[in-house]
Symmetry: D2
Subunit: 301 residues, 4 copies
């Protein structure tokens, strides 16, 4: 239950208060404004504000006086060209502000993307809620045996049950003691900035996160990727769906050139050329390491 | 004449095309949208888009679900508190996109503010217009005799006339030759990316510049300052007037704490304390250098 | 015990392996290299590398061909001038790389300083050690009654004892279960990236942190301040001592103009002027709020 | 003639003043320190300082206590892995400081790379030298007829001669008038900050530029590229040669994965798969635009 009835009422109020503006308006994004898209068990992503649309990308690229767009077809072609040739500045001309509720261990990965603005709920100043991320059964994965930084099979039976018991019980105990330490009932009460250190990394925090479209797409390329940790990937997936409605041309180009594309090294390109000539290319005669070869094969599959 | 009739018509069209939005709207800023505020002889500043208002600063500081503002009085107090204690992140939650036309030597100073997004008119791709900054008579200042990096008295008579003649004639000659070099009439025509090197630094360029409010205020503090070069200061002044309409509380706090305030060093604070006790404090017994003492005296005057 | 005997041996080996270099060398910094300065119960700060010294600040400010320094006196004056007038770029020309071990809740505050490079020990890839921050008795403070974001009196007696018991016991339980969950002894073993979510925010992490001198001083101004949380302030204090040995002129100027200085608002400057004229200025007739007045009085004391 | 005898002497003095250090030392980079590598007719690139080497990349990736390197083979493998998987932070742990002399129109492109530190020679404060970039005959290219942003054939005969005459004569006139305007001989003398506006964009400026290895490689990928303007590409090429000596493993991986590699879109990958199956793929049935197809064909050639 990510939102209380009071919060839902506040959101409904905002969604019925439309005002006229002379700015660029994205119909697709207006439909998302303020709504909470649920992610994980208690998290969400909400669009608080945005600037620009597909046309604004073209307008900036052309340094226009007016709307700066030509035909719709022309605009899509320009956006594809800009994406293909790594022109980043026109995409920086769109901006989005999100309200995100997420577990602390996800927040710690997320914050490594530095080119963004963040206001986090302060646990020095305020009291955190008793909300913890507890994985669904099918997200309870074993350590991968081939990849030190990944997941393997889903845990089963008693092992899975014990993990869930530990996560739930330890969270409840930690939070009980957090409350007991800060309580001012019959005692002084520990400073909040100290008491919070007892809370585990699956507790939920929340923040306002503002980022331009170029840096957002970079974030999505890394975090909507199959190698990203599942718990951040579901946030990236939720944001991808929002971006697709906000700037459809830019998102489509992003899917083609980034999400669905691949970087081939000079060595890999040479292997492709040899294969196209009919040569038998193997890992051994390719000049690639086993890891590179595996990734190369995956890209061609 | 910064705008052609066609450009004026494009702007008028945009200013009559209002659409409903659920986003935060700043009435003060809507009145500025798209209009060209003239600066220098051929330059301007135009607001292309904006995100947020005073309330959005408070909303982010409070990580709110709804509007996040309380009473208007409360909001102003919070904004003043945030400004006084150097909280930068809530101010980063507002963003503005400007279209600026400016001489190249001003653009070179401006671009040193790195935390902003820029799309400049490309002289590799396009042909620059024949527009050059020629100072007004009262801006034609001599080199300062006390400050290596400043201006002194205004030039007079024949000296002033000769300067203006040089600036005008050299600009015209350079542009004539620029045109002659790129012309494809009866010749191949030099590449634009090469021909532009003949153009002087008072030619006008233009760009889209997008920046958050925190970084914009930092820019304004340095560039609306009496020590900034006049030709960039007039742009900063024009933007100050816009920001005052956009986020009135934040701008007022900025005027009080930044533009009108002063940083006193530990040594200067000690001098104030001694003066308040009735001691006679002089540069010699203050521990300050002559330059520091002069600036200290100016702050107290 | 922040370092094992093996780690101490590695550090000793590095400290005896001197090599010739043509680069600028700071004798004060060479004495610090690789040594662990203990902070809190298990943390430390270690200098891994550095670039530049006081002279390099002047050399860059002068865009010199050679050493770029003039007399030592001249250099100190230039550095003071640059600091006083907020010239940031010459200070950016020095760089330092630190290895820091710190509790996660401190790391979360630290990382908000974005203009720095960070490599953190990965709990997706590796197993964290059983090391937790447990405050000393005199750091066990109550919530402040005047400041929502601060500490009051030190807790006493049974209340203090209970807090320490909770922190220690919950940390041990959480770590026991972390180990039990990732164990591959007779079971699959939970993925490390998931198991870590059970660990509280007082567990230690570590990272390489590289930052330029300008941004480091900004960090120190905010974090060596009396309003910063004690647990990050002790790290800032340890770094201050290192910087004082690395770039003594810059550090002295920083102490005078930043750490020991104060920003007075236009309103506060006006109050000083009136006080110097002999007027009786009170909070009521000053135009300042109670909070501003309290801070103003503190600056003048 | 980029350096005066006095400057050469200063550099020689620095190159003979070796001091012991405990820091990581790159032998390849020590050989470059302070030397001016000539670029264009009056420009140069000089290494002023550096931090780190190949081993430092691995040390940071491993968050090591000691040197952090394992076998040399192991280190190269790790560096290739990090480069292939877009891990940027370990490469950010190396830093270099360059002194660059370059034409203003090149400086304007260069500065668009924002994540770097810059101290430029101030034409508000100092007087610029009479040095202008005049292209060699073989760099005097016509505007491309296929690409709005590129060069075509080399100009010939009278057209080429006239271009050179314009560039030389206009530069000399502009500089003569610059000198005449700032002269204080029998007149007040125009402020330098104003007089500089008369100087064309092929005048030389210089700066100290400091950047981390990750951002430097990004700069080199874009600027050592065949699509970059020739006049900035020659600087990028000179820096490539330096980086190859500084961090040989990282540079080799960069050549393979970035300089020599290619990004294939989802559509292009699908075309490769079809071609490998023996299908006849043409632009028309590929789903690519003409521009994309041309680039795709170039990558496979």
């Amino acid at each position: 239950m990510p939102l209380t009835p009071e919060q839902e009422a506040e959101i409904s109020a905002l969604r019925t208060t439309s005002q006229p503006t002379l700015r660029a308006v994205s119909e697709g994004m207006e439909a998302h404004l303020y709504k909470a898209h649920q992610v994980l068990d208690h998290g969400f992503v909400r669009v608080i504000d945005y600037m620009g649309d597909d046309a604004a990308i073209c307008q900036a690229a052309r340094v226009s006086y007016g709307k700066g767009t030509k035909s719709v077809q022309n605009d899509e072609g320009l956006i594809r060209y800009l994406m293909r040739h790594w022109h980043s500045t026109p995409f920086e001309m769109c901006e989005v502000k999100l309200h995100v509720k997420l577990p602390v261990f996800v927040a710690r990965q997320w914050i490594r993307h530095r080119t963004a603005n963040v206001n986090e709920y302060s646990a020095r100043y305020s009291i955190l809620d008793r909300e913890f991320y507890i994985p669904q059964a099918d997200a309870l994965a074993a350590q991968s045996v081939v990849n030190n930084q990944g997941r393997g099979e889903v845990l089963q039976g008693e092992e899975a049950a014990r993990v869930l018991r530990y996560l739930r019980d330890d969270a409840m105990t930690a939070y009980d003691h957090y409350e007991a330490m800060i309580s001012q009932d019959g005692q002084q009460g520990l400073a909040r900035e100290l008491a919070r250190m007892n809370l585990p990394a699956n507790i939920y925090t929340q923040w306002y996160w503002k980022v331009d479209l170029h840096n957002l797409l970079h974030f999505l390329r890394l975090r909507a990727d199959a190698h990203a940790q599942y718990e951040i990937r579901v946030y990236a997936d939720a944001i991808c769906a929002i971006v697709a409605d906000w700037v459809p041309f830019a998102y489509k180009a992003f899917e083609d050139y980034r999400l669905g594309g691949a970087v081939l090294s000079a060595t890999a390109l040479e292997a492709v050329r040899r294969m196209l000539k009919g040569e038998e290319v193997t890992q051994e005669n390719s000049g690639m390491s086993k890891g590179e070869w595996r990734e190369f094969m995956a890209a061609l599959k």
